[in-house]
């Protein structure tokens, strides 16, 4: 099947505007601005049941329709802060197929009546920022961005903004704070950004991959889009496969593809033909899926079905763990990441991740006791449900699930 998002894999030089246009690019945008009402664009996306690709899987069209139309101006922000360990799909899109992403962002802007939209890039994507700036300039030069587009009253400008290297800025409200020039820390919700967002104005924030789906949906229709994937989770998804597999990388597959197909058909199987021990389907924030039964590998990867395994598909950054990996080592890694990335705003996350890192260090270092493992589990649960944003929650996922689902990995390393 030809790619829908990673089209640059078949079409050389798709990151050049003329090539993108030769391949049907920007027609959907021009058509929408000149022939469609903004809410008609939203309706198509709604009908396609496109779900947000950033992790939460929230229906995109519905989010767009939540924007407060009594309060103006409106803003659209592309979340290009891609920071989840194990996630590397947005980077490939923006490097290989940037115009499709930009066109999706432009279509969304038109749909909600935004005249200024922002791309918030993680600081390390400075080179992508430079190329996006050049591409935006090209679009302006050719009249796809600017004042009174195609002779209509609609105007649109795009701006890129580089973060300063904080994981928390991928959280949408922390992203907005950072974009406003403030310290990147999450806001209290409600109010949610579609009501009170950037500079206090209604704002829609979507992931890069989400936007990249939009031009194809507009061009080919919602019904076409729904022929792919499952009824609950239609369309395609880029799975960032990493961990103990032979061929890690991005794989664009229909939602509902099984773990087995991803790992064995596309990922070349596990290194040294070992057994899959566990799967982290959503990067470091994942609950661990323990593969103690081969049948688990036949689970289709869509938002609803993964949930039946008491885990979340999230951004589909699938990390494969085999028998060579002990989970005490694994969670020591993830906890250190969250301890380092906690923004420090709320107590349970700031203090809890710090405390957990001491415990995982002790346990993994062979100085822990069974009581320490119990304490670690207890501290993780004491964090859960009490934090200001999802980061603190995420920090506990791997901890709680690995101790509860594979306690022997810990008992093995602690002192009697």
């Amino acid at each position: 099947m030809a790619h829908i998002l990673l089209r640059h894999r078949e079409i050389p030089n798709l990151n050049q505007l003329n090539v993108y246009k030769e391949n049907g690019g920007l027609e959907a945008f021009k058509n929408a601005v000149t022939r469609m009402k903004p809410n008609e664009v939203t309706d198509v996306v709604k009908n396609a049941n496109l779900r947000g690709r950033g992790g939460a899987g929230f229906p995109t069209g519905m989010k767009w329709s939540f924007i407060d139309n009594k309060n103006w101006p409106h803003y659209i922000v592309a979340n290009a802060d891609e920071s989840e360990p194990g996630t590397f799909k947005d980077r490939e899109i923006m490097e290989g197929n940037p115009f499709q992403f930009l066109e999706g962002l432009m279509l969304a802007s038109y749909a909600v009546g935004a005249n200024a939209s922002y791309i918030y890039l993680r600081g390390e994507f400075w080179d992508i920022g430079d190329s996006l700036d050049a591409q935006i300039a090209e679009l302006e030069a050719e009249g796809y961005l600017g004042e009174k587009l195609f002779g209509t009253d609609y105007s649109l400008r795009l701006y890129t903004h580089l973060g300063a290297g904080a994981y928390i800025c991928g959280e949408e409200t922390a992203l907005l704070e950072s974009l406003e020039g403030k310290r990147g820390q999450p806001r209290n919700r409600p109010p949610f950004p579609p009501a009170v967002g950037l500079y206090g104005k209604p704002t829609i924030i979507n992931n890069v991959e989400t936007f990249t789906n939009v031009p194809m949906i507009l061009a080919k229709g919602a019904d076409w889009y729904k022929t792919m994937g499952t009824a609950d989770s239609p369309g395609v998804k880029i799975f960032s496969l990493s961990g103990r597999v032979n061929k890690p990388g991005n794989y664009e597959l229909p939602l509902g593809t099984t773990f087995r197909e991803l790992i064995y058909t596309h990922g070349g199987g596990v290194i040294d033909d070992r057994k899959v021990k566990a799967i982290m389907p959503a990067g470091a924030s994942s609950s661990l899926i323990m593969v103690d039964d081969e049948k688990i590998l036949d689970t289709p990867m869509d938002y609803a079905t993964v949930r039946t395994l008491k885990a979340d598909l999230g951004s589909a950054s699938v990390i494969i763990i085999d028998e060579t990996v002990s989970l005490d080592w694994l969670i020591n890694k993830t906890v250190h990441f969250f301890k380092h990335e906690s923004c420090g705003k709320c107590t349970p996350c700031r203090e809890g991740t710090y405390w957990m890192s001491h415990l995982t260090e002790r346990i993994h270092g062979g100085h822990g006791t069974k009581a320490d493992v119990d304490l670690l589990l207890n501290v993780a649960k004491q964090i859960q449900g009490k934090c200001l944003c999802a980061l603190g929650e995420f920090s506990t996922m791997a901890v709680v699930t690995s101790i509860e689902r594979s306690r022997q990995d810990f008992d093995r390393v602690v002192q009697a």
């Binding site: 904080a166 928390i168 310290r183 209290n188 301890k339 380092h340 990335e341 906690s342 923004c343 420090g344 705003k345 709320c346 107590t347 349970p348 700031r350 203090e351 809890g352 991740t353 710090y354 405390w355 001491h358 304490l375 501290v379 004491q382 449900g385 009490k386 934090c387 200001l388």
Partner: protein, 818 residues
């Protein structure tokens, strides 16, 4: 009244105003939900996660929007997660379960305390906050008894990090609640501190120069819920439980902030009882729960080693100690002898009772009493001033506030805060000043004029479109005028022009309307109410006269005045400490400081407030009114000299605007919201509850029906300096070299040296750079000043701060040389 909503907290049904936060609503019915980051004066942030509660809301049918009913009542749907009571607002039908009803909430709060304590040093026995610490109290009430965090793994950070020379941070104790940062950002607008780093490395830092560059910095130590922020003045000074508390009033400016003096008997002070710190005392109509750093730190003058302890008379050219009897008798004889050549010069620092006795002394003899001040116009602030019911705290939409010729941040910091907050609530703020001031950022309109053009500018204000509209259509209009670049006659003219504006736009004689003088001293308004006048030309006034100077150091302010005193017939000086002026006196009379006695003061808002004795008197000193009474006795007349309350009663009978007040009424209190204060450490502020009196307003002298006669004042044309000269204008800075400021050594860095502020172009023309010392000369006076380059100073103008050593009384043409 705003819309009311009814909800249930722990089974108690309550009805409160819409928009109130849950924690505040619970507090109203006596349910204390524990908080750390939440403070009722700050926007809720939900950071500390201490106030976790279970919240249920009535379920609505998605299709119809109607409540889903169950057993005749709306079905309540509880959220799966605990929520913060500070950030959630009250909602109709909401059901809240706090720690007393919900095991889940109780457990959540316990968890938060445990998390906070993992990094907290638990050095309570040596911590300044110990004994008045919310973290200590809430740990006892809601925390686990034992720590599961290994003590050896505790973080070790800097324990004494100066954020500036006034405020110190203990990084280990900080719980990252951001109250201090939010206070500076939201309330003050001086964003000079913030968080650095993230996660467990998050620390408070100051990024200004000087560090923590804000005149409100001390307040952050009051609202800090742990011992992380301490003042350089009080840290390691005493344990809170050793302190006694006495109500007082700040005497540093006309705002009249309510304060509490914390005192302790101290070995270091030779076993004396001394003031250990000055704390704000809640008065929502005056200073809320804040005071400025000058009020907090400058009190040290009262314990200066230059305090006068005994009366002295000059014999054979030398001052020597004597008895009260001898000293006052000598003064009395000289005053009688002088007849019409007897002049009383009183400071606005004195209490109402002192001023009243001085005024009576003048009336009973043939002398005349003057107020020592660089600012005039007080007869108009008495006539068309603000009165009962006036409260900046309630001003908002519908009120226009005009600030004329005043840098409020420097002259009366708490008024700056109050005016700023009023503007935030929708009041129309008009700032009329020759240069940009801090307040201008919050103004709806800014009117700029050239120094010298103030009267014309004020007169034309209601002709300007937007400003005129703001003045004429306002329901309430308050005008504050100061002395930026003004001499005595200039300020009289400005007052007159402002009073006219009020009268023309029909904004006199009602609450929240009127003229306020941003005076130099705490009780200038009281002096004006009693009929004191300001002399424009002190040199002529004092030449060859018999002078009774009370609380003023003229010789230090202006050497020319010192020379006049040397040639005067007889000089009696009454003061709290040795000054340049007492050295020139024939008789020196030692007065008690405000910390040692009681009395009343009249604020610029015409509020009369009581202060109380907190520490024992110095030596043989007496309160000013008693000294005056003793002199009067020797002059053959009689003035009350024993009871302040008796003098106050006489004052209320004699001065019309004081009618209806009595000493006891000033001590009345009423419940104030929000509930803060010592008696209830709930919000963690160490602000004191007001138990000693909120004071009372003077009556309105001019009712709307009365026609107020406002003098027509002609203003001379502005000075035009020659080509090689600059127009030097006097401005007021908060920290100066005044008698009641300089003894506080802690403030010396902030006071600095005499400066001259120039526009960058002017500095370039003169060939001088910032930091260089220049010679400033005019009319035979000259002095050295350090150059400050400031682009808010108009070209051709030099700002010279008052009370910094160069006597500049009004705009003058000066020569500036390297």
């Amino acid at each position: 009244m705003s819309k009311q909503v009814t909800l249930t907290i722990d089974g108690k049904q309550i009805t409160v105003a819409e928009g109130m936060g849950l924690a505040d609503a619970a507090k109203l019915v006596g349910i204390d939900i524990p908080v750390f980051c939440h403070h009722p004066k700050l926007e809720p942030v939900g950071m500390c996660r201490m106030c976790l509660v279970e919240i249920g809301r009535p379920m609505r049918d998605r299709a119809t929007g109607q409540f889903v009913m169950e057993n005749g009542a709306p079905k309540i749907q509880f959220m799966p997660k605990l929520e913060t009571a500070c950030t959630n607002k009250v909602e109709e039908g909401m059901v809240v379960l706090t720690q007393t009803q919900s095991a889940k909430a109780k457990d959540g709060q316990k968890g938060t305390v445990e998390f906070l304590l993992t990094s907290h040093p638990l050095d309570c026995p040596i911590c300044d906050k110990g004994g008045e610490c919310p973290l200590q109290n809430l740990t006892m009430a809601h925390g686990p008894g034992k720590s599961r965090f290994l003590y050896d793994e505790k973080l070790h950070l800097e324990k004494q990090k100066p954020l500036g020379e006034l405020i110190f941070l203990d990084q280990e104790r900080c719980i990252q609640c951001a109250r201090c940062i939010r206070f500076q950002d939201e309330i003050v607008g001086d964003s000079v501190i913030g968080f650095d780093e993230r996660a467990r490395a998050t620390q408070i830092v100051s990024f200004s120069n000087p560090g923590f560059d804000s005149v409100f910095s001390g307040n952050t130590t009051d609202i800090c819920p742990v011992g992380a922020l301490t003042t350089a003045d009080f840290r390691f000074g005493a344990r809170p439980w050793e302190l006694d508390a006495q109500a007082s009033i700040c005497t540093q400016c006309p705002v009249g902030c309510n304060t509490t003096l914390n005192t302790r008997r101290e070995a270091k002070a030779g076993g004396d009882i001394v003031v250990k710190r000055v704390m704000p005392r809640q008065n929502e109509e005056v200073n809320e729960i804040w005071i400025c750093d000058k009020g907090r730190f400058a009190y040290h003058y009262a314990e200066s080693n230059k305090r006068l302890a005994n009366p002295m008379v000059r014999t054979d050219g030398k001052l020597g100690s004597t008895s009260w009897e001898v000293a006052t008798k000598l003064a009395a004889e000289q005053f009688l002898k002088a007849k019409k050549d007897f002049v009383i010069l009183a400071s606005g620092r004195l209490a109402n009772e002192d001023l009243f006795n001085l005024k009576l002394l003048a009336e009973q003899s043939e002398g005349k009493a003057y107020l020592y001040s660089h600012m005039a116009g007080g007869e108009l602030t008495s006539l068309v001033g603000v009165s009962e019911g006036t409260n900046f705290g309630k001003m908002g939409t519908g009120t226009t506030i005009v600030v004329v010729a005043s840098d409020l941040y420097q002259e009366a910091p708490i008024w700056y805060l109050r005016v700023k907050q009023a503007a935030k609530r929708g009041a129309n703020l008009v700032v009329v000043n020759p240069r940009k001031t801090k307040l201008e950022k919050y103004a709806a309109s800014a009117v700029r004029y050239a120094y010298g053009d103030e009267v014309k500018t004020i007169t034309d204000l209601n002709k300007k479109d937007k400003v005129g509209e703001a003045l004429t259509s306002a329901e309430n209009l308050v005008i504050l005028y100061g002395s930026e670049g003004l001499g005595v006659s200039d300020s009289a003219a400005v007052a007159s022009a402002c009073a006219k504006l009020l009268q023309e736009t029909n904004h006199t004689g009602k609450p929240n309307n009127g003229l306020i003088g941003v005076w130099e001293r705490a009780n200038d308004q009281g002096a004006w109410e009693m009929g004191f006048e300001v002399a424009e030309d002190l040199i002529t006034l004092l030449k060859g006269k018999t002078v009774y100077i009370v609380g003023a150091d003229l010789a230090a302010d202006d050497p020319k005045l010192g020379a006049v005193l040397e040639g005067a017939e007889f000089v009696v000086v009454q003061d709290v400490m040795e000054t340049t002026t007492t050295e020139l006196a024939d008789v020196v009379l030692p007065a008690q400081a405000f910390t040692e006695r009681e009395g009343t003061l009249t604020s610029g808002e015409r509020r009369v407030q009581r202060f109380y004795a907190a520490v024992p008197v110095t030596g043989d000193s007496k309160p000013d009114f008693a000294i005056t009474s003793q002199i009067a006795h020797h002059m053959g007349t009689s003035l009350e000299g024993t009871f302040v309350s008796t003098v106050f009663d006489m004052l209320t009978n004699a001065v019309k605007s004081f009618a209806g007040l009595n000493y006891a009424k000033l001590a009345e209190v009423k419940e104030q919201l929000p509930i803060v204060g010592r008696g209830d450490l709930y919000y963690g502020g160490t602000t004191y509850e007001n138990k000693h009196g909120l004071g009372a307003h003077l009556s309105a002298a001019a009712t709307p029906q009365e026609t107020v006669s406002i003098p027509e004042v002609r203003k001379e044309a502005a000075l035009h300096p020659k080509e090689n000269e600059l127009l030097a204008v006097p401005v007021t800075r908060l920290y100066d070299r005044g008698t009641t400021v300089l003894p506080a050594e802690l403030l010396h860095k902030r006071i600095g040296a005499l400066s001259i502020s120039l526009h960058p172009d002017a500095a370039q023309n003169l060939g001088v750079q910032a930091g260089q010392t220049v010679n400033v000369s005019f009319n035979g006076t000259s002095g050295e000043a350090v150059v400050k380059v400031d682009d808010t100073v108009p070209a051709g103008v030099a700002l010279i701060p008052r009370s910094m050593g160069l006597a500049i009384h009004e705009p003058v043409a000066v020569q500036v040389k390297l």
